[in-house]
Point group: C4
Chain length 204, copies 4
């Protein structure tokens, strides 16, 4: 079987690459006659915004992935496949990010389409993560000692609320695309600061 | 000599990067007048399909690569070269994937050419993997204790059938390209679920 | 919590990928009629210069990142977020590098804009690094034994001077873009050779 | 100081990414009216050839890098800078590879220019590697116990011959570009098979 260590290293590699490729989609604007580079750079704001939001989403997912795996003590076949399924959706994120960067400013139907794609991919990421979480916490063989029921239930409630918020952003994408992007940004910032308030722990 | 640990880490890095670059080939469609973004995105279906199939193929190859190396206890020069040869073909996979994404919808000869290229590269990957497997299992110096003959023979039969299926898909590519892609998808899903049914084992 | 080891591995991965993607922005010049490839390659000098400067900046940042983390013994939430913030800005570096490569030769306002962007991103990197450094050295829980006050003060003076130099280059970018790039190159070389004069130490 | 382990991991990451990005330069040919995909794919032969040669060169450099570092027991500042210098040139390799892929078929001066660039970058890689090797083997503090003089002298002769061959290919590039590429291919294959004949050794 694949050991936990190599599975973590492989997943870390994928997270690190996706987070870096995201920014690689920021390309210099074309030389256009009569338009200054400065104004061409300002016009890329949807690209910057989409980049930051996607970066935070992937960063937070990486943190949660790590926390989850710290409790895993055995890797089984289902876990492997569920983890590959998560990575499949993580790795896709630069695609809707680039679509949003290209189409959000145009407004109208295309902006809505772009945001629906973006929100949809994030929903699929969230579902894949919840599936992984549910599998890992369902079985003492995988997680060593099951955490207290209350803890698991609390985590499930948390994930449920998160999923709900992603679905809400998906619905909002159809109508007010920019607002949906703002919701994603707010959620990413919330999660990031939430991480920062976790009490200090000594680790090695 | 190169140690097994660094060889595995290097190979893992390559697998993680290829699997991520694959998805990076999904590019926003061009702004075309009179075509909605939504329909332009639908038209990319061969790209999505090719991405998922190639992702699963590489994912499964990574799993098998890891399992194989867990039994290796000594790395010799031939093994190094055979492993580099495998990586050379793994790393090429995004190229035929992008060709299929660009040409499958056109139909006709070009679609067939694209699928022949795709299937051909997968056949070369399969051959390279079998060569690595054959070298590792032929010698007690490399693999520690040779597994029982029956086990090796069973594994060889398995690989033989797999190779046969890849060749079948290659032949099919000349005539019904979409069907050949479907065969690759089915094989990848079969292997992925096959992995999931491996009995749980506790590892660290 | 995320362990120090996995945080370092993740950061290393990001540094390694950014440093490699940088050079991937060096693209063959277009086939233009009546212009030899040799002269088209010479015309890319701003791209080569920007690449080398950005490579050295990231390389030096990686070295300092590693030195800093060697003293860390506990990872808390704030540290995680500050590190993600640093990576967010590191990963952006290929973007202004590509803008400089495209616009520096044009001269005029666009060249100035390009260098302001480049210098601005490096300033944000420097600020993010100082924030990380300040957090790590403010607390005995994180850094084990706090280094002697004189050492910390000396390091802060050093970083302050560095930040000042980056701001100076930022201001210079508005007026003499090429000179600003030269300042960045000089700073990167200074830091690189500074590293080389650190007295030998035996490590494992 | 940076530990040997993290230096190796960082270098491995860079090697793995470069080797993968190389192949990512293989792009589907444009849809051209009246030209079949099959013949457009054949016309990419310089790209395939350049890819394989560059892949083998980097692969062999990775193997030698690893062997060299296995003997290192202390990392000093000069070694760090020499290693960064090597990586700077390794990471550039996809650029001349892409130039050769684009211009070799054109023949004439541009093909010669492309091959001179390719050979020149490989010469700079070889010089950087020799500098690293010379530094590592000059000092007992770095390498633990210096190998017997005869061994070091033999290695230096080997490297000298290698450097000479690279310079020869560089000169040949001015006159018969395709022949120069063939020389690089031959050298890469020679080194790869040379690795394969190293006697088996048990490692972990």
């Amino acid at each position: 079987m694949v050991t936990k260590g190599r599975l973590e290293a492989f997943s870390d590699g994928v997270f690190a690459i996706v987070i870096t490729l995201l920014a690689f989609d920021l390309r210099p604007p074309d030389h256009e006659v009569g338009v200054s580079l400065a104004s061409a750079l300002w016009d890329l704001w949807p690209a910057y915004l989409a980049y930051v939001v996607a970066f935070l989403q992937i960063g937070v997912m990486w943190l949660n992935h790590h926390r989850l795996f710290q409790q895993v003590r055995a890797v089984d076949g289902v876990l492997l496949v569920l983890n590959l399924n998560l990575l499949l959706w993580v790795v896709v994120i630069p695609f809707p990010t680039a679509v949003v960067a290209d189409y959000l400013r145009d407004g109208g139907n295309d902006a809505a389409t772009a945001m629906v794609l973006f929100s949809g991919v994030l929903v699929l990421n969230a579902i894949s993560f919840v599936a992984l979480f549910a599998w890992i916490t369902h079985d003492e063989d995988i997680i060593g000692a099951l955490p207290p029921r209350a803890v698991v239930r609390a985590a499930r409630v948390r994930f449920g609320i998160g999923l709900g918020a992603y679905f809400g952003a998906l619905v909002l994408s159809f109508f007010v695309p920019v607002a949906a992007l703002a919701v994603h940004a707010a959620m990413a910032l919330y999660y990031a600061f939430d991480q920062a308030t976790v009490s200090n722990e000594v680790t090695t």
